[in-house]
């Protein structure tokens, strides 16, 4: 698997991480190396094998659909970088 510069930039965009041109260059080689290394999984015949979803075979528990927590807006926003009247403040989204 060869990861080119355009691909690095595309996935960095998807991951919402700003990268410099220089970083993109380094990541091309690193990601190519790692993805080539994991390609050895192609040797394994997984025909008819179910993907693993749970490691311990327990049934997912259900609970009553009722409110168990809440009314703690001050706690929820307590660590926010910027708030106003209990709301998070961010730069303008719509022009």
């Amino acid at each position: 698997m060869n990861v080119d510069e355009a691909t690095v930039k595309r996935i960095a965009r998807l991951a919402r991480i700003k990268i410099t041109a220089e970083e993109a260059k380094g990541l091309e080689a690193e990601l190519t190396g790692i993805l080539t290394w994991v390609e050895q999984l192609d040797e394994v015949d997984t025909e008819g094998v179910e993907p693993m979803t749970r490691v311990v075979p327990i049934k997912l528990k259900m609970r009553a659909d009722e409110v168990t927590d809440g009314e703690i807006a001050a706690q929820v926003t307590g660590n926010a970088p910027l708030t106003e009247d209990g709301f998070y403040v961010v730069p303008k989204v719509v022009e």
Partner: protein, 496 residues
């Protein structure tokens, strides 16, 4: 008075019960040791002496009143991956900035409810991603052990393993009686092996993940690092619980693991997987493995060659599953609701600038790999393929349990390495977890117990892998290895 920091957790418990010393005296001794050692070792990223002394005072009251709880007055270190109410929690990442949780993790709450004292928060690799504790925002942790080459003491600073390097260094340097840790691919067992301490990753679901900063949710498990097998058994009993707040938490009673210690190994069947004899394994690791086999035979166990054919695929499959889950979990760090914010010209620019500044190099690399393998058109080829391989890895073990009760392997192929020696090559670093990662992929319990010293005079460990929720057998077997191998304490406090 004797140096209280040198006691094991069990000895300290007995001393408090017998009123030989007080919880306040014990805590004060540790606070002093930390103050002296931390500039050199960097094991703690936050010390909480006021909290510790308040907890110790409460413990002394309870001991006097005859209402002591099981871990009353025992000072512990707490990995900075666990959320602590009112105490800064960062996962050793810049992106969490000065984040101060308004809630306590379930594992932490269990320990404090049992009377334990928190000395502070311990260093780790950023978001628990690393095998050397070199990716922390607070800088690397130094292994209290030093190596000798050609008869000469090497001045290289050794890594304490990772990601729970603060936990392993603090326990081996007597900066706490025991510590919490977490293990996604080997992050409890590998650091324990590299510092001469005991570390157990229990069955997936044994400890609640609630309130632990998430890395790869289908692999993450909490467990202790301790000085002895007994101490680890005491710790795990009080960390583990069924928790309605974690839907993957297992609803199986937690036994008194201490009761398993000292029981005979007669009739125990030990499997030796041939696939663990890998290229690049040191002669030291191989020799210890053979010793381990002999010790278990002497203790009455029978030894059997077994095959776990998909072993070699565990690590590459892990490096798809773990980054994929990490990229999803770390999507929450957006600079809006908590943690660091780097203002941008618009919202997307704010996200991108914040995440570029907040995540370190290894975390960025893994988020990008994860984003790639989950991106449109690649999901089946990578993530789904890796999850199928995972089924086969688990099947190998299911098959093995028909003929053996426990599996014995080295914990790591090599002893502790120097800072910077592997940080330039991600795959070389990933290979540190070659023997431990299969256990996470299969969700099984695994313990590392110190077994001997390398040619360089540094500790190495043996790993025991058990059946689901059968941690008791691991403690019993590890205890027999410990009895034969002895304890490995840091030869001198060079930092003092």
């Amino acid at each position: 008075m004797t140096d209280l920091t040198k006691l094991t957790l069990a000895e300290a418990r007995d001393g408090l019960t017998a009123k030989t010393f007080t919880a306040t005296e014990l805590t004060t001794a540790f606070l002093g040791a930390i103050e002296q050692a931390n500039p050199a070792l960097n094991a703690y990223v936050l010390q909480t002496p006021d909290l510790a002394l308040a907890q110790a005072a409460e413990s002394d009251k309870r001991i006097a009143a005859g209402t002591a709880r099981p871990l009353e007055g025992l000072p512990l270190g707490h990995k900075d991956l666990f959320c602590t109410k009112g105490v800064r929690t960062t996962a050793c990442s810049l992106i969490l900035d000065e984040f101060t949780p308004t809630y306590e993790s379930t594992v932490g709450q269990n320990l404090w409810d049992a009377g334990a004292v928190m000395l502070g928060k311990l260093n780790n690799d950023e978001f628990a991603m690393g095998s050397s504790n070199e990716t922390s925002r607070f800088g690397p942790v130094v292994n209290p052990w030093q190596r000798t080459r050609n008869g000469v003491k090497d001045n290289a600073k050794l890594v304490p393993g990772g990601s729970s390097g603060g936990s392993s260094a603090a326990v081996s340097a007597d900066l706490c009686l025991a510590a919490t840790a977490t293990d996604t691919g080997g992050s409890i067992r590998q650091p324990a092996a590299l510092t001469g301490t005991v570390g157990i990753k229990p069955t997936y679901g044994r400890c609640s993940r609630w309130g632990i900063v998430a890395f790869a949710s289908s692999l993450d498990q909490a467990g202790p690092i301790a000085k002895t097998v007994r101490d680890a058994a005491i710790m795990l009993r009080h960390m583990a619980s069924h928790d309605p707040k974690d839907s993957t938490s297992v609803d199986v009673a937690v036994p008194d693991y201490e009761a398993a210690l000292g029981q005979s190994l007669k009739g125990l069947r030990v499997g030796i997987p041939r696939e663990y004899r890998v290229d690049g394994m040191s002669a030291d690791a191989d020799a210890l493995w053979q010793k381990g086999i002999a010790w278990l035979k002497d203790a009455g166990a029978t030894v059997h060659d077994i095959s776990l054919p998909h072993t070699k695929y565990a690590l590459p499959a892990y490096y798809i599953v773990a980054p994929a889950e990490c990229s999803s979990n770390l999507a929450r760090y957006d600079g809006v609701r908590y943690g660091l914010r780097v203002p941008g010209k618009d919202l997307v620019d704010t996200y991108e600038s914040t995440r570029a500044a907040g995540f370190g190099k290894e975390v960025r690399r893994r988020v990008l790999i994860g984003t790639y393998v989950l991106s449109a058109g690649y999901y089946d080829a990578y993530y789904l393929k890796a999850q199928k391989v995972r089924t086969l890895i688990k099947r190998d073990f299911d098959e093995a349990w028909n003929s053996v009760d426990v599996v014995l392997t080295p914990t790591t192929p090599n002893p502790a390495f120097g800072q910077g020696e592997k940080s330039g090559d991600p795959i070389a670093m990933y290979l540190e977890d070659i023997f431990t990662v299969t256990v996470n992929m299969a969700g099984l319990p695994g313990i590392s117990v110190p077994a001997g010293l390398s040619a360089e005079g540094t500790p190495m460990g043996l790993q025991l892998i058990g059946k689901p929720v059968d941690e008791a057998t691991l403690f019993r077997t590890a205890h027999a290895i410990e009895a034969a191998a002895g304890h490995f304490r840091v030869p001198g406090r060079w930092w003092a």
